[in-house]
Each structure stands twice: as structure tokens, then as C-alpha cells.
Amino acid sequence: MSGTWMTTRAWLLMLPLLVIMVAIIGWPLVDTVRLSFTDAQLVGTAGNYVGFDNYTKMLTSSNFSRTLITTTWFAVVSVAAEMVLGVLAALLLNQEFRGRAVLRGLMILPWALPTVVNATLWRLIYNPEYGALNAALTQLHLIDDYRSWLGEPGTALAALIVADCWKNFPLVALIALAALQAVPRDITAAALVDGAGPFNRFRFVILPYLAGPLMVALVLRTIEAFKVFDIIWVMTRGGPANSTRSLSILVYQEAFSFQRAGSGASLALIVTLLVTVLAVAYATLVRKTAGSAA
């Protein structure tokens, strides 16, 4: 069969997918760009061209800088904790002990739990009057009075991060475990014979095998964490006093609560740009890690 026909046929087979993707991703993205240069409202007025007004207004607002810091903090702390806990859990699951298969099976549960259910569950656990956390800490005499974990700016973000980590570290653990099981036994045995201690064995023998898969997990989790909306919306709606407001929640408020489609669109594109820069930087890093590990 000729190459041209193969290529034409491939395009024909891809056509339905590409048409739908252009309609529900390509066009909306282009239209978001157009809207970002207008003062359009969500309902009603089509809006007038206002140049870069929306961008300058959004970028210079204190809301934006504060939300950017909150989002970055959430992403960095929760992803770092998930990576560390995930690798530790994977190292444990790579040992031989009774019930290992069952424990490995349990790790799928937090991952499979819908995000909204996870958020609701932790919201109930943190409940200021009847929550399990308050009850447990009081009964253990670690705190004297019930506290409003999600109601105080000092603890709300940390409480969210714990909830997010609990759901996501098992996935990192499963990915790391799959990588650990690919480490050849004779290499670790040889390192042992050569007198390498546990730390050096991890650093020089095991880590190179983990680096590639972990980098991919790190990239995907960071992008996800930067886009975070669901868990925060259900647990705190960005409160108290906007202390847990993420960038996605800020866009939602601007475009849908205040119905300012134009400035909401500009803010959404700023967020998109940040995520893209992050992803490209990471992709470069992944390629380097993959190159050095091979």
C-alpha cells in the first residue's frame, strides 16, 4: 500500500476525534483569548475591545499575588509530601512480609475514592463540633478544646494539604513500587557485597531506577496541584478570609460569581501560561533525568 494512502487513511480515521477536540477545546481556547481583551459579561453584553486592561488589572491586583502564593505553597508542600511518603511506602511494600499483597491492594482505595467524597470525608473529620480529629486529640489529651481546623486561617491550608496527600500518596507509592520491582536483584546484592550501607544503596543503586517514573509522577502531580479546585471548593470554598483560595477558585469567582467573563478569561490565560511554563520546564528536566539514568 502506498504511503500517501496510508497517511490519508490515518487522517480520515482521526478526523472524528480531531473535529470534536477542535470544537470543545480548540475553539473555546481561542475564544477565551478573544474574551480576555474585552469587557464582556457572562450573560448579556458581548463587550468592547479594551486591549490589555484586563491583564494589567489582574496582574497588579493583590488578590492575584496572594492567590499565586497560596497555590504555589499548596502545590509544593503537598506534592513534596506525597513524593516522600509515596517512596517510603513503596520501599516498605518492596520488603517481604505477610499480608503484603493485601496492603498493596488497599493502596488503590484512596486513589479510587472520588475527589469530592474525599473532601467531604475530611470536612467531616475536621468538623469543629463533632469531628473525629477533635474527638481523638481531646481523648488523647493532646488538645484541651475543640478547634475549628478549617475555620482558622492558620490551620485551614495545612488541613487541606493533609487531605490531599492522603488521597494521592498511594498512587506515587504504586508507581514507585513498580519501578523498584524492576531493580535487578544481583545489582543490590553486589552493592551489599561491596559494603555499601543502606543509604548509599538507596542513593546510588535504587534511586537511578526510581528517578524516571518518579519524575513523571512529579510532573503530573504538580500540574494537577497547580490547577487544584475540587478539594478546596468542597472543604473551604477558598476561605476563611481567602486563606485557601487557589488560582482556579479565583478564576471561578471572577468569571462566574461576579460574571466578569472578560477579566475572568484573562486570569484563566495567565494561569494557563504559568502551568505551561511549569510543564515545559519539567519536561526538559524529565528528559535530562531519563538521559542520565539510562
Binding site: A10, I25, V117
Partner: protein, 281 residues
């Protein structure tokens, strides 16, 4: 082999117990809340185990009496099933030919890479025009409209999985069928699709999980029982003035049951899908 000291073995078991407790305790508590009488949940000190298990909330949520909590819950359950089912079906129908095309004709692969790169886009970057578009089409608060929007998430992902699935089926088998005179669709029906069945099934299950989990678009584009999905219904319950926390927990258990069962049954396939999907480019 390294000889393990008794201290090390004890340490491993202690860590394993700790990990099991960390993973299970919140889930177990969700279930205990769902069967504890309201008085037990409001008791101080908190009663960690109900005196008598009370399953009445399950009956309450699954009943279809008018204007009850059950009516709202069952309609959102139906909407979730419909949206996830339709979106998954559409995603698979789009993904099979596209995935096969990219697998067999790598020169068109760049277009799939572009589709997959949209994963980076935050949904907020598309939400305003999608809202206006659905409103213009009269598809706001409509299960068909929501299922269509879910393809933004489901279709790239399933195509990607499908492509790597087709990659592992040797072209020679297909070529042999074609030499024997089978057309393209006949070759698919007789050779390719039966071999790819496990991949198609895994992709479809992933798609169902993604659709079942989705919250942001459902929150934006649905407003009442005609289209609200489970995730929105549960967020409403959690943020509303429901005084019985056990009822919220029960809704959570019911919503979590299908994906958790899928996760447990499909464990091996899901993990290999996650890891291979994560590693292959």
C-alpha cells in the same frame, strides 16, 4: 542475600501496620458514620462504634419519595450513570480509530501529541466559552451537554491508552488478514479488536472513573435534578445545612462504592495502565 535481623523484621511489621491504619482509618470512619445513630455522632466524648448499627440512611437515600433527600440523591445517581456512560461510549468510539491510526501511521502522531498536551490546560481556561456555547445550544443543565464537555477530559486520555495498546499488537497479523482479502473494518472486527479487547476495557474503565470523579464542569453547567451529578449533589450536602452528618457520610459511601469496586477488581490492569501510561511518551 542479606540476613534480616529480628529487629528489622519487627520494624517492617510495625511500619506495615501503621501504613494500613493510615490508609484504612478515614475510610472505616466514613462507613462507621454512615451507620451510627445521629446521637452517637453528636456525643461528647465521641462514640467511635455505634451501640446498634443503623442502616436506615441507605434506605432513605435510595428511596424515591417525592421531595425527599432520596429523590435528589437517586436522580443525581442516575445523571452520573448516564453522563459517565454516554461520555465513555463516545470517547471509546472516537479513540479506537484514532489510536489505531497513530499506532500504525506514526507520521500523524503529532496531532495526537497536541490533543494530549491539552491535559495541561486548566478547565477554567475553557469554561467561559463552553458555558456560553452550551447556553447558546440550549444544553446547559442537560446530561447530553455535560457528556459532550466530558470528552475534553476522556477522549485524549483514552486515545493515548488505546494507541499504546495497539502498539503491542504486531502489524504482521493484520497484514496477513489483509493479504487474504479482508478489508480494513473486517480486519479490525476479526483480528485487531478481539486482541485489543483488554485495552479497550481498561480504557473504558479509566474513562468511567474520570467521568464519575468530575466536579468542576458539573458544578458550572448543571443546576437542578435534571442534570446534577453525584459529585455536585454530595458537595451540596456537605456545604448545606444538613444536620445529620451520617447522611452525608452515607451519600459518600454510595458514591465511592462503584469506583472503589472497579479499582479493587481491576487493580492489576489499572496499575499497569497507570505506570505504562506514565512512562511511555
Amino acid at each position: 542475600m542479606e540476613r534480616k535481623s529480628p529487629v528489622f523484621i519487627a520494624f517492617v511489621y510495625a511500619c506495615a501496620l501503621l501504613l494500613a491504619a493510615v490508609v484504612l482509618a478515614p475510610l472505616a470512619w466514613l462507613f462507621v458514620m454512615s451507620i451510627s445513630p445521629a446521637a452517637d455522632l453528636a456525643a461528647k466524648p465521641l462514640r467511635w462504634w455505634p451501640q446498634a448499627a443503623d442502616f436506615s440512611r441507605y434506605a432513605q437515600l435510595l428511596s424515591r419519595a417525592e421531595n425527599s433527600a432520596g429523590a435528589a440523591f437517586t436522580s443525581s445517581l442516575r445523571n452520573s450513570l448516564e453522563v459517565a456512560g454516554m461520555a465513555t461510549l463516545a470517547a471509546v468510539v472516537l479513540a479506537v480509530p484514532a489510536g489505531w491510526a497513530v499506532s500504525r501511521t506514526p507520521s500523524v502522531g503529532w496531532s495526537l501529541s497536541m490533543v494530549i498536551a491539552t491535559y495541561m490546560l486548566p478547565p477554567v481556561a475553557l469554561s467561559v466559552p463552553l458555558y456560553m456555547g452550551l447556553s447558546w445550544l440550549g444544553l446547559l443543565n442537560n446530561v447530553f451537554g455535560l457528556a459532550l464537555i466530558y470528552l475534553t477530559i476522556l477522549a485524549p486520555f483514552t486515545t493515548w491508552l488505546m494507541k499504546s495498546g495497539f502498539d503491542s499488537i504486531p502489524r504482521e497479523i493484520e497484514a496477513a488478514a489483509m493479504i487474504d482479502g479482508a478489508g480494513l473494518f473486517q480486519t479490525w472486527r476479526i483480528i485487531t479488536l478481539p486482541l485489543a479487547a483488554p485495552v479497550v476495557a481498561t480504557s473504558a474503565l479509566f474513562a468511567v472513573l474520570l467521568a464519575w470523579d468530575e466536579f468542576f464542569y458539573a458544578l458550572l453547567f448543571t443546576s437542578d435534578q435534571r442534570a446534577k451529578t453525584l459529585t455536585v449533589a454530595i458537595a451540596d450536602l456537605a456545604g448545606g445545612r444538613v444536620s445529620d452528618y451520617g447522611l452525608i457520610a452515607t451519600a459518600g459511601v454510595l458514591a465511592a462504592l462503584p469506583p472503589v469496586l472497579i479499582g479493587l477488581v481491576m487493580q492489576r490492569a489499572l496499575i499497569s495502565g497507570l505506570t505504562s501510561g506514565g512512562v511511555k511518551g
